[in-house]
C-alpha cells in the first residue's frame, strides 16, 4: 500500500515549456487535490476532483489544467510554464463518506518544480 505517490520528484523547465505531473493513489479515494506551496504562503488549492471524470477550480487555477480519467490518477498540466509557477506541488486524496462527512486528506511527497 503506497498511499499517494507523485511523479516526478523534481523537474527543471524553461519558460514556455509544458509538462504533466502525475498523482496516483491506491486507497480507492473519491476526492483528489492539487496544491502548491510557496514560501510564506502555506498550501493553496489549484484544482480538485470529486470523482472520476469531474474536476473543479480551486483558489489559484490560472495556468494549470487537470484531468481525472481514472479514479486512482489525477494529472496536473502546465501548458506554458512561467517562472511564477516555480513551487512545490502536492497532491492529496481523501475518502468521502456521505454528505456531511469527509475524511482526512492524505498527501503525496511533493514535486519540486523550477521554471527558468
Amino acid at each position: 500500500n503506497a498511499g499517494v505517490t507523485q511523479t516526478p520528484k523534481f523537474r527543471v523547465l524553461k519558460t514556455g515549456q509544458s509538462m504533466t505531473l502525475l498523482c496516483a493513489q491506491d486507497m480507492n479515494h473519491e476526492y483528489m487535490y492539487w496544491y502548491r506551496q510557496d514560501p510564506g504562503m502555506g498550501l493553496r488549492l489549484i484544482h480538485y476532483s470529486v470523482g472520476e471524470g469531474t474536476t473543479a477550480k480551486g483558489e489559484v487555477p490560472d495556468g494549470y489544467n487537470v484531468s481525472r480519467l481514472k479514479k486512482q490518477n489525477f494529472l496536473l498540466g502546465l501548458e506554458s510554464a512561467a517562472p511564477s509557477q516555480t513551487s512545490v506541488y502536492f497532491c492529496a486524496s481523501s475518502h468521502y463518506k456521505g454528505l456531511w462527512r469527509q475524511e482526512t486528506q492524505y498527501f503525496g511527497p511533493g514535486t519540486r518544480l523550477l521554471v527558468l
Binding site: 487535490y33 498550501l43 480538485y48 492529496a92 454528505l99 462527512r101 469527509q102 482526512t104 486528506q105 511533493g110
Partner: protein, 115 residues
Amino acid sequence: AQTVTQSQPEMSVQEAETVTLSCTYDTSESNYYLFWYKQPPSRQMILVIRQEAYKQQNATENRFSVNFQKAAKSFSLKISDSQLGDTAMYFCAFMKSGANSKLTFGKGITLSVRP
C-alpha cells in the same frame, strides 16, 4: 470564505519541554473540521491531529493535544515532552463539513527543538 491565521512564524523549545502553537480561524459555518499537519524537512505533509467541531472533547494523539475553543475560534496544538524529531513546520487547517469541501491552510509555523 474561511481564513486561518497562524500569527507566530517561528518558535523554539528545549527538548523534553512543552510547547503550544497557536491558530485562530474565521468562519460562519457551524459544522467543520480542524487539523494540524506537520511538515518535516523531507517536505512530507503528515497529519498530526484532527478535531471535529461538534465534539466538545479536545482531541489527543500521544504527546499531541489540542485546545479547541469554538466560541473564540481558537485551535492551539500542545506538544508535550518535545523531541528532536518534532522539528518541522506545522500547519493549521480548516475544512467545513459537506460535499466538495476543501482545506484552507494557515501560513505555518516553524518549530525548532533544541537539544
